[in-house]
């Protein structure tokens, strides 16, 4: 199977990741489109035998980061919002909506790691390769992302007794 065909087969996965990454359906598909356009013109740079998926997600990551830098100076977790979410979820639907909002509030780099691990089921090494960061960074971002999501979705009571996660 050619790289082009394999690339096309990965489109639904790019869309899933993009949807979780940016939330909005149209914006997510815009990101996928930009990614594909870039990937298509750079495909000759892809080295055969290496992981095409990691390569493609790296392209998407770079496109995404560039777009964010162009749109806004920085993105930080809003601690006030964190403290507001003290209620316990009461139904699956509510969990879904809370999840949507909670993901959007994660810092970009932590969100990317969590989504690649959970949705793409990449190994930690693959995530490190895809995002071009050391594996220790992957682990600490993963840990922080999870703890923040947990706080946002299940409230401070869930985490009150815990020591701070490094």
């Amino acid at each position: 199977m050619s790289e082009a065909q394999r690339l096309v087969e990965l489109i639904p996965r790019l869309r899933r990741y993009a949807r979780a990454l940016v939330g909005d359906r149209a914006a997510a598909d815009d990101l996928v489109q930009d990614t594909l356009e870039r990937a298509w013109t750079k495909l000759h740079l892809y080295r055969r035998g290496t992981d095409l998926r990691a390569w493609l997600f790296t392209v998407m990551h770079n496109v995404h980061v560039n777009r964010i830098r162009a749109l806004r100076p920085s993105e930080a977790l809003d601690e006030d919002l964190l403290e507001q979410s003290q209620h316990a979820p009461q139904a699956d639907a509510l969990v879904m909506r809370d999840l949507d909002r909670a993901i959007a509030r994660l810092p970009e780099d932590q969100r990317a790691v969590l989504l690649l691990v959970v949705l793409e089921e990449m190994s930690y090494e693959e995530v490190a390769q895809t995002l071009d960061v050391p594996i220790g960074t992957v682990m600490s971002r993963l840990s922080r992302a999870r703890e923040k999501l947990r706080l946002m979705m299940f409230g401070p009571s869930a985490t009150a007794k815990l020591k701070v996660v490094k």
Binding site: V8, E9, I11, R15, A20, R25, E37, M96, R146, R150
Partner: protein
């Protein structure tokens, strides 16, 4: 090593099922004696589950055409890209719904007046989805053929969104909603000023019942509704006058009764 210790990385890897059997057993032993860590693991797994439940359905959505074309080159990407997206069509879409009845108790079966029930549900659906910036519709008008096929299949009868372009409203897309008598089709329209109008289309009405136009207001949402042959219709808007909404309703009616 005097005392066993669970590293954070080890705990994360345990959550993700990335440990080999001996290490997994060691972590399990640790968790048995450390309920707070065990709770964390359980919560992290719930989050992972919720993430997959929320986003895995994207895998089964049809891939928009604009993503299957190469830029500039003018040559089409392999057709099976589109085909692959269509294969699992609709299967997952019905599975997850964020629709919820809040503070609206279900009326008893005997008390149900189908029309007013429908109007209230239509108003709630309008109030819920029309302000939505991110996900106003489940399937966009750019995939109208898919939208029509999908909703027709789920409603068990052919449904078609009316064309309202002549009165200034273009179709944004639609979604499937749970109704009191099976799935309901919900179409959203928008005019150039951004005003939105929704059509709530319910199948399976009692064929002997037909009604004239009726009007209702629910939570600032205006609704014209009627029952005609086997469909119930409700046109809702929060932003246009009763008279303007009547015009929309009339246009819809005429399209279904040429």
């Amino acid at each position: 090593m005097s005392e066993p210790h669970l590293s954070e990385a080890e705990l994360q890897a345990f959550v993700d099922g990335r440990l080999d059997a001996p290490r997994r057993a060691a972590v399990e032993a640790w968790l048995a004696g450390h309920p707070e860590d065990a709770e964390r693991v359980a919560d992290y797994r719930r989050i992972a589950q919720a993430l997959r439940a929320a986003f895995d359905p994207v895998l089964d959505e049809p891939v928009p055409q604009r993503l299957t074309r190469t830029p500039g080159a003018g040559r089409a990407w392999p057709r099976y890209a589109a085909v692959a997206g269509w294969i699992a069509l609709g299967a997952a879409l019905g599975a997850v719904t964020t629709w919820q009845w809040r503070d609206t108790p279900r009326p008893s079966a005997a008390a149900v007046d189908m029309g007013s029930t429908m109007a209230r549900r239509a108003a709630l659906a309008h109030a819920t989805y029309s302000p939505e910036v991110r996900h106003p519709v489940e399937v966009g008008a750019d995939q109208e053929a898919h939208l029509v096929a999908w909703l027709s299949k789920r409603l068990g009868t052919p449904v078609q969104p009316p064309k309202l372009d002549a009165i200034g409203y273009s179709l944004m897309g639609g979604r499937l909603l749970p109704g009191d008598n099976g799935p309901v089709a919900h179409f959203m329209y928008q005019c150039t000023k951004g005003t939105r109008v929704t059509l709530y289309l319910r199948a399976g009405a009692n064929e002997s019942r037909e009604t004239a136009f009726r009007y209702a207001e629910e939570r600032n949402v205006r609704v014209f509704y009627w029952i005609d042959r086997k469909f119930g219709y409700a046109i809702s808007s929060a932003d246009i006058s009763r008279d303007d909404l009547y015009k929309v309703a009339n246009t819809v009616y005429q399209q279904f009764n040429p």
